[in-house]
């Protein structure tokens, strides 16, 4: 054997050994305790830094326009969802950090009022993708469950923190309109787009109605039970046992289970049926949650479903099937169900691959956008309001 061959083999062996040492160690530079992401009480530094960046967006109109313009160029829905995730987050933060409650409430009210104003002035299409106009809605008059459900939950969480009488009729009307439309279809679900019902939006509307029950002493328990029975019969993917992500008004599935949907759905279903929500979360972990060398992520589609890469999944990295959109939503599921191992590994992936940028105490992830960061913020703070709503109602106390 020549010296060259010996040297080549030695070099390759050294590279292989170094790779075998370094790759399993890499996550140690990014992994932190679960409390560094979502503590049981109070706010984590990450939550404070992410919130500081979002609060800046709502106090600096030029910066906000720039950020919203970037997102609306891709998807008008993100403008809307960035608002809703932020309001849901600020409501949870008001419980976790009462000292800053006044500031949070002020920002929540500003977002809610501006969103309602935009909806009134430009109509629902302002926050929808162009295909909303492609054909008529089945249920008339046309309304999008996407807007109704998320606005209802914004109003409800705001009122959970502190009552605002002006919002009481707005929430009541929105809830009653949503539930009336849901009851028109055989699977008790309403359209977000023409003849497209999203599981995400229907789950959010169930959570909003549960919070409305807490706030106003109403009782939608019978409808929630009925919805759940119908969903178990008609809207479960037979291969995975997971709820499908979209379906027609008459209950024909359009897509299979989807990572960018199911994680938040499981979180919302905790208010309806904790056991079913736990079961859905466990299945989602098995079918979509993945980890390697201390890092974790989520697939957009289970292995048994061949779905496309779309605006919700974000770019999907082949082979490992890493979906940015699904992984962002997985934080919400892992945080809600207290899955510390998955959550810390997801957070390690985030800090490794989403390029955090911390300036003057304000954190953003460069690979993300405002809606992505707002969803992450929600994952760092969620919990107190759900616990409150699950244990009785305001009038009992």
């Amino acid at each position: 054997m020549t010296r060259f061959i010996k040297k080549l083999i030695a070099g390759l062996c050294a590279l292989a050994l170094a790779t075998a040492i370094w790759i399993p160690c890499l996550h140690f530079f990014f992994i932190k305790s679960v409390a560094a992401f979502r503590p049981t009480e109070g706010l984590s530094p990450k939550a404070r830094q992410l919130a500081a960046r979002h609060l800046q967006l709502w106090t600096d109109p030029e910066l906000r326009q720039r950020e919203l313009g970037r997102m609306r160029a891709s998807n008008a829905e993100w403008d809307f969802m960035g608002r809703t995730f932020l309001v849901w987050s600020l409501a949870e933060m008001s419980v976790r950090n009462p000292g800053a409650r006044a500031e949070y409430l002020k920002t929540m009210d500003r977002i809610i009022e501006e969103t309602l104003h935009l909806e009134k002035e430009h109509g629902m299409y302002f926050f929808l993708m162009p295909y909303a106009r492609a054909r008529p809605y089945i249920m008339q008059p046309a309304r999008s469950h996407f807007l109704d459900s998320e606005i209802a939950l914004m109003l409800a969480v705001r009122r959970m923190v502190e009552e605002k009488p002006e919002y009481q009729p707005l929430l009541h009307e929105r809830i009653e309109a949503m539930l009336a439309r849901m009851q028109q279809g055989p699977v008790l679900s309403a359209e977000s787009y023409p003849n497209v019902c999203w599981m995400f939006d229907n789950a959010v509307s169930l959570a909003a109605s549960k919070l409305a029950d807490y706030l106003d002493g109403s009782d939608h328990a019978a409808f929630l039970r009925q919805w759940l029975e119908r969903a178990k019969q008609k809207l479960v993917d037979p291969k995975t046992g997971l709820l499908v992500s979209s379906f027609t008004v008459d209950g024909q599935p359009l897509d299979g289970p989807e990572g960018s949907s199911i994680w938040l759905v499981t979180h919302c279903l905790r208010l309806v049926d904790e056991d079913f929500a736990q079961d859905q979360y466990r299945r989602a972990r098995k079918e979509l949650g993945r980890s390697l060398a201390g890092f974790a992520w989520s697939r957009e589609w289970p292995a048994s479903w061949n779905g496309p890469m779309d605006i919700d999944s974000g770019p999907v990295i082949p082979v490992l099937e890493i979906s940015a959109g699904a992984s962002g939503m997985a934080f919400i599921g892992a945080s809600s169900f207290g899955d510390a191992g998955y959550l810390t590994a997801l957070a390690a992936t985030l800090d490794f691959s989403a390029f955090p940028s911390l300036k003057q105490g304000r954190l953003k992830y460069c690979a993300s956008n405002q809606v992505g960061d707002a969803a992450l913020l929600y994952a760092t703070v969620l919990g107190p309001l759900w616990e409150k709503a699950k244990h009785g109602n305001k009038h009992d106390k």
Binding site: A14, A18, W22, G314, S357, C366, N369
Partner: protein
């Protein structure tokens, strides 16, 4: 000189790459290039991963290109460079203490 040490020019060039010095050189080069693109602000352009453009005034395609360059150099600096440094150390150790040719010039 023995017959063993005679090798074709291409092999000689190739073997030059398999040395602790060249491994370290590549590691340092990757790190320096990464620092450069980091300092000029290419990190912002990784926003293409979420389907948004990175910065005002830069077209989507150019922003994506900057983002891809940043990600490749980041992975080079964080994943590849440490492996090269570790491998350089192992190779230097092997050459100094374990190689049968350690006494050869």
């Amino acid at each position: 000189m023995t017959n063993k040490s005679i090798k074709p020019p291409s092999a000689a060039r190739s073997s030059g790459w398999i040395s602790p010095h060249s491994f370290l050189s590549v590691a340092v080069t990757l790190s320096v290039f990464f620092m450069l693109v980091h300092l000029v602000g290419f990190r912002e352009h990784t926003a293409f991963l979420s389907g948004t453009t990175g910065a005002v005034g830069v077209g989507t395609r150019l922003s994506t290109f900057y983002g891809v360059i940043y990600i490749l150099l980041y992975l080079g600096c964080v994943v590849i460079a440490p492996i090269l440094v570790l491998a350089a150390g192992m190779l230097a150790f092997w050459q100094k203490f374990l190689s049968p040719d350690k006494h050869l010039p």
